[in-house]
């Protein structure tokens, strides 16, 4: 595993799905992102790991186009983050961000329509397969109010997956999940990666201690005081070094 100032995941920059160049971001006087440069190739699983307040969510939000860096450039799928890219991005925020009064099916259907799945039959098929993946098919009629925290996480992930995006931006997707479910999520992320979807995940390191899948993540120290990005170019099980 190498540590250097400019960390890249992949063999070349031509197929970079994500490219950050000297990105800086501050909330008022507080510098959160301090000159990040990296690129991430198609199909990578890339993890931003760090303690609370390290800037992981900020970085994910910038990639989703929910903010602009004060300096530096961000390229996502070859363009600056913009609404034009929305169709190709699946975003799972840190808060579940679901409509509590609506059912599982209604929430998923709503976001499917927002992502442009207008054909009803096609939408139903996508919803069924997504609910099956996250294990909520038998709970589709239940209102979100009646779901446990873990089930809401699953539904939140489903809402990011339903339209089959090329890029997934997942902010702490496994928080509050039991180890078995967490492992199931990671397996699914690996299968998405294998089929060419790029998966960007932010997480607190100890929530990933029990993952047993092969995954790639890059390590870079000194980006800023508290955030560390971990990656390896080789698909091997990686010990937690933090």
């Amino acid at each position: 595993m190498s540590i250097d100032a400019n960390t890249n995941v992949g063999n070349g920059s031509d197929d970079a799905v994500i490219r950050l160049s000297d990105v800086e971001f501050s909330y008022g006087q507080r510098r959160v992102l301090n000159g990040i440069s990296l690129f991430i190739e198609k199909g990578a699983i890339f993890g931003f790991l760090g303690a609370n307040g390290a800037g992981k969510t900020t970085l994910i939000r910038l990639l989703a186009g929910l903010g602009k860096p004060q300096s530096g450039t961000i390229s996502v799928l070859g363009q600056s983050p913009s609404p034009r890219l929305s169709q190709q991005i699946g975003y799972m925020p840190q808060l579940n961000a679901l409509y509590a009064e609506l059912s599982v099916q209604e929430n998923l259907d709503f976001f499917a329509r927002m992502y442009g799945l207008t054909d009803r039959a096609q939408r139903r098929e996508a919803e069924e397969s997504t609910l099956e993946v996250v294990g909520l098919l038998d709970r589709r009629k239940d209102p979100v109010l009646r779901l446990s925290g873990g089930m809401r996480q699953r539904l939140s992930l489903a809402c990011a997956l339903v339209h089959d995006p090329k890029l997934l931006l997942l902010d702490e997707p496994t928080v509050g999940l039991d180890p078995e479910l967490r492992a199931s999520f990671w397996e699914h992320f690996q299968s998405l990666s294998d089929s060419g979807t790029t998966v960007i995940i932010s997480a607190i390191p100890w929530t990933m201690l029990h993952t047993v899948i092969n995954w790639r993540f890059c390590m870079r120290d000194g980006l800023l005081p508290r955030i560390r990005l971990m990656a390896s170019a080789l698909p091997q099980r990686c010990p937690m070094l933090l």
């Binding site: 989703a64 186009g65 929910l66 903010g67 602009k68 609404p83 929305s86 169709q87 991005i89 975003y91 925020p93 840190q94 808060l95 579940n96 961000a97 679901l98 409509y99 009064e101 609506l102 209604e106 709503f110 976001f111 329509r113 927002m114 992502y115 442009g116 207008t118 209102p143 809402c159």
Partner: protein
């Protein structure tokens, strides 16, 4: 803009409110309760009740819509669903028009109840066509929806939205002709009344219900009211953005 997305948002809001039985009850009961309190206080003073009823209807139609929309949109911002929406291809126009349509049915029911209660239960004396009066109240509710969305950006929680009520509503109650006719206010307040949307709503309803003027005669006031709705819509659109 996308018709499918707009309708999806409107449908979603409709179902959310429909399933919130307590809110639904309040949408229906609260305006009637308030109108009853005001109306039956003036039982022995029918001429006063006749004079203030058009203004009271405007105030309540505006107030309840503003509050409902402001709190609902704040919840969208606070619980992250608005942020999640903005990362989809949905446009700002879809969100705002979807919200307007979603709330419109409930606002229409509310305004109809206020109007019918005022006319039948309080038995006010009025002239003019009730459908035309209802149409003006609908424009008032659109103003309330758009202003509610705009104001929600300045609040961090529902408590703060409620604090905006005196700022948004009190000037309109006292300066738009609800309590005193505008031409009886001090000069500086008459100037201020010109920038308040309810001034034109109250003026239009008073002209129709008290002086028997037709809708075509009050088109000027209704047009200015509609312009306020557009201005607030533009301001609301500015606040609904990704960054």
């Amino acid at each position: 803009m996308s018709l499918d997305r707009t309708l999806a948002i409107a449908t979603r809001i409709f179902h959310q409110i429909r399933r919130d039985h307590r809110s639904l009850a309040l949408i229906i009961v609260a305006p009637l309760l308030v109108m009853a309190l005001v109306g039956f206080s003036f039982t022995e003073q029918q001429p006063v009740l006749d004079r203030i009823s058009p203004g009271m209807m405007c105030v309540f139609a505006f107030f309840f819509t503003f509050l409902l929309t402001g709190v609902s949109f704040l919840r969208e911002r606070a619980q992250g669903t608005l942020e999640r929406l903005l990362v989809t291809p949905v446009g700002r126009g879809d969100i705002l028009v979807g919200y307007l349509l979603g709330f419109f049915l409930f606002a229409a029911i509310q305004s109809a109840l206020i109007l019918l209660f005022t006319v039948w239960a309080l038995d006010i004396n009025y002239q003019g066509n009730l459908w035309q009066v209802f149409a003006v109240l609908m424009v008032v509710t659109v103003v309330g929806v758009n202003l509610g969305i705009f104001i929600s950006v300045f609040a961090r929680n529902e408590f703060q939205v409620v604090q905006f009520i005196p700022i948004v509503l009190a000037p309109q109650i006292f300066l738009s002709g609800v309590v005193l006719p505008v031409d009886q206010l001090p000069g500086y307040f008459q100037v201020a009344s010109k920038v308040l949307p309810l001034t034109y709503a109250v003026g239009a309803l008073r002209d129709m219900m008290l002086h028997g003027q037709a809708f075509s005669d009050v088109l000027g006031d209704v047009g200015i009211l509609a312009a306020f709705a557009v201005v607030f819509l533009v301001l609301a659109a500015v606040t609904v953005r990704r960054t």
